[in-house]
């Protein structure tokens, strides 16, 4: 093969194919380079810490969202699950840190079960099924917390959201660990492989004898549990629990991260690392804008452009 054939034959087609997969990483790289050059104090340890800490909850929620979207679904209730988890923390901290964490995780499991059963057994469309708990979940959380903001002062619990381990925030360690766990689940477990089949072609998965309903319920439970982890970590970070504010609009940030990360809304594919990168990219965009004193409205419009570009690039690949 001549070098010319190599250049024209491979470069172009590779770029076409590779763009949706690597575009998000490329964008992050560009932003980082830009910031290093033009933004003062970007490359400081404290700034990087802040960026990662702020991105962590979105990353955790987006991981679950990516799984749900992989089954051709969507989960709007993640923000409400966070609120519910947050509301339960001050209630159970008296029984110890472990009890409080277990209580908020249990709330996640319960909500996930309800979502999953509505989708898999009742047959509701995911957007409608999870809309119910999107509305009701936060209401319940506000009722549980009696509508009050409650300070949390348990040192052990605050360590999760505000402490360091090996000079890296514990929060970031936890997010990183969850990324690995979810990536592992998708790639190496029977559940993960089945999830992709169900999302790719549900009738085919059914005819092949897969327990489709169980898989779907499992996915919604996993998503809600991840959201409840994000919820309790948020409480730990801001050192107070406010059910009416925790996780507000996070479902949109999570869906954005998933889409920008290259996971198609049509199901059958989950990009775990892409989702992480999507969340980091959106975080970096916001941070860059703030550092350059641009108003929030400009930031929002920039985010909109990124979402459209991501969807457009993905569309090109499908019609190829």
């Amino acid at each position: 093969m001549t070098t010319e054939a190599l250049r024209t034959g491979i470069d172009l087609s590779r770029l076409r194919k590779g763009l949706p997969r690597c575009g998000v990483y490329l964008a992050i790289l560009l932003l980082i380079v830009y910031n290093i050059v033009f933004t003062p104090y970007f490359l400081t340890l404290s700034n990087l810490r802040i960026q990662l800490i702020q991105a962590a909850p979105v990353v955790i929620v987006a991981l679950g969202m990516a799984l749900v979207i992989g089954t051709e679904g969507i989960d709007l209730s993640v923000g409400s699950v966070m609120a519910l988890a947050a509301a339960l923390i001050p209630l159970y901290l008296g029984y110890g840190v472990v009890a409080a964490i277990l209580a908020s995780l249990a709330a996640g499991v319960a909500i996930g079960l309800i979502n999953g059963i509505l989708v898999a057994k009742v047959g509701l469309q995911p957007i409608v099924a999870t809309l119910a708990l999107f509305v009701g979940g936060r209401g319940l959380a506000v009722v549980i917390s009696e509508g009050k903001l409650k300070d949390v002062r348990n040192e052990d619990f605050l360590y999760l959201g505000s402490g360091d381990f090996l000079r890296v925030p514990v929060l970031v360690w936890i997010a990183a660990l969850l990324v690995l766990v979810v990536a592992f689940v998708v790639r190496r477990t029977v559940f993960g492989r089945r999830l992709l089949a169900v999302g790719g072609n549900r009738p085919a998965a059914e005819l092949a004898g897969l327990p489709v309903k169980r898989v779907l319920i499992g996915v919604y439970v996993l998503c809600a549990v991840l959201a409840s982890i994000a919820g309790l970590l948020s409480v730990s970070r801001i050192q107070s629990s406010d059910a009416s504010a925790v996780g507000l609009l996070i479902e949109l940030s999570a869906i954005t991260a998933v889409v920008v990360g290259g996971t198609p809304l049509t199901g059958g594919r989950v990009r775990v690392l892409g989702t992480v990168a999507g969340a980091l990219l959106m975080q970096l965009v916001v941070a860059t804008m703030i550092k350059h004193d641009l108003p929030p409205s400009t930031t929002e419009m920039a985010q909109a452009v990124i979402i459209l570009v991501a969807v457009y690039v993905a569309r090109e690949r499908r019609t190829r």
């Binding site: 089945r194 790719g200 072609n201 085919a204 005819l207 092949a208 004898g209």
Partner: protein, 499 residues
Amino acid sequence: MLLEVAGVSKNFPGVRALDGVSFTLQPGEVHALVGENGAGKSTLIKVLTGVYQPDGGELRYQGEPARFATPLDAQRAGISTIYQEVNLVPLMSVAHNLFLGREPRNRFGLLDEARMVHEATEVLAGYGVRADVRHRLGTLALGAQQMVALARAVMVDAKVVVMDEPTSSLEPREVETLFGVIRDLHARGIGIVYVSHRLDELYKICDAVTILRDGKLVHTGTMAGLERRKLVSLMIGREFGEDFTSFTETPESVLTGEPVLRVTGLTSRPRLRDITFEVRPGEVVGLGGLLGAGRSETIKAIGGAYPVDSGTIEVDGVTLTRPSTVRAVRAGVATQPEDRKAEGIVAGLSVRDNIALAILPRMTRFGLVSDKKIDAVVATYMSRLRIKAASPDQLVGDLSGGNQQKVLLARLLATGPKVLLLDEPTRGIDVGAKAEVQALIDELAAEGLGVVLVSSDAEELVEGADRVVVLRDGVVVGVLTGDQVTTEDLMATIAEAAE
């Protein structure tokens, strides 16, 4: 002449859907339009009703050359269509549906609700529909909805009514009402194009018949002048020796053991009634019949993917209770669905993942999926079925139809089934792959599997099956064994009326 189609052709990328087809309809004539899947019936209807524009040929309506740019054009000219699926608005009231777009108005230009309700009640009574017309259409039975659609079609001053399988979702009583309406239209000089696969109906209600096959006109004439057998052979129509199949006969001596599949009294209203047959190890049992006879439904019911009202399914002596796809697969039933893309392959996954799909729990080590184990299985089946793919990682959606089908078969075989249910296993795949798949079916049967084969290709069915169970309208109407397994006997059995 009310409507005339002269030498019309229609091409789609890679397919000639209509090839110089001519068709005439007289006023007051009920004209049957028949043909198997892909014969060109739907395309012809769509040309008549303005959905498609013909690439060649001419359309004449009431003696004038006509051109319908849109379905609305055709409707305005007086050509109404009733589709197989009712396309009305289920959430609006019956009366609103009936008058949609032509609602009666009072002198202020507002909707005259009272008059609409009154007229609708009156009109529908003539169609045997006695329901409160103020209720939503969706609350009516499917048959009644069909009647509303029909009433609507006729009310718009139609001169031609095209009916595409109007009885497919009707109960016998409703069919009678429909026929009453058709006779009435006939008397009023309205021309009817009637598409159906139910031969009894055609002979009962139609005056003339036009048969299409592979986009070409093969026969047109009076209904009474065409024998049933002749009709069926013209539809399926394939002379002996014209095509080859790669099946070999199974010696009777092999077929001894106890049945591996026993279906008794399988009923699923309204599609299937009291279906009984059995399959012995090593035997290929064909399910014959025309489209809509209940072949695919039978296959799906056995595979756990179609609701069953009564009857039993026994696999290897064990009765399947509460049938579901999961239980059927576990019991050793593997189903290859008719629609490969929609229900078979997962196009976005690799060849490897598609093959391993149904056996993942066995492909694990310490609870985790083992690629090593999967690769071993995948390699075995890829070479055995001669699956041509760049690598096991290639997406199945990028393979040819034949190779996709082989991947699907590999997935089924990997589950180690006792019974293989194959619904149109060679549809849409090229000749070479077809021969390979056919040879494979033989080979699998020889290894002791029980195979149920559905094929619209009469030749394939007859050559491939050791026995053919013939269905019509969801009922077993005959079983061909031994020397009877010929295309002639098959056609005769399909054609015979249940007298």
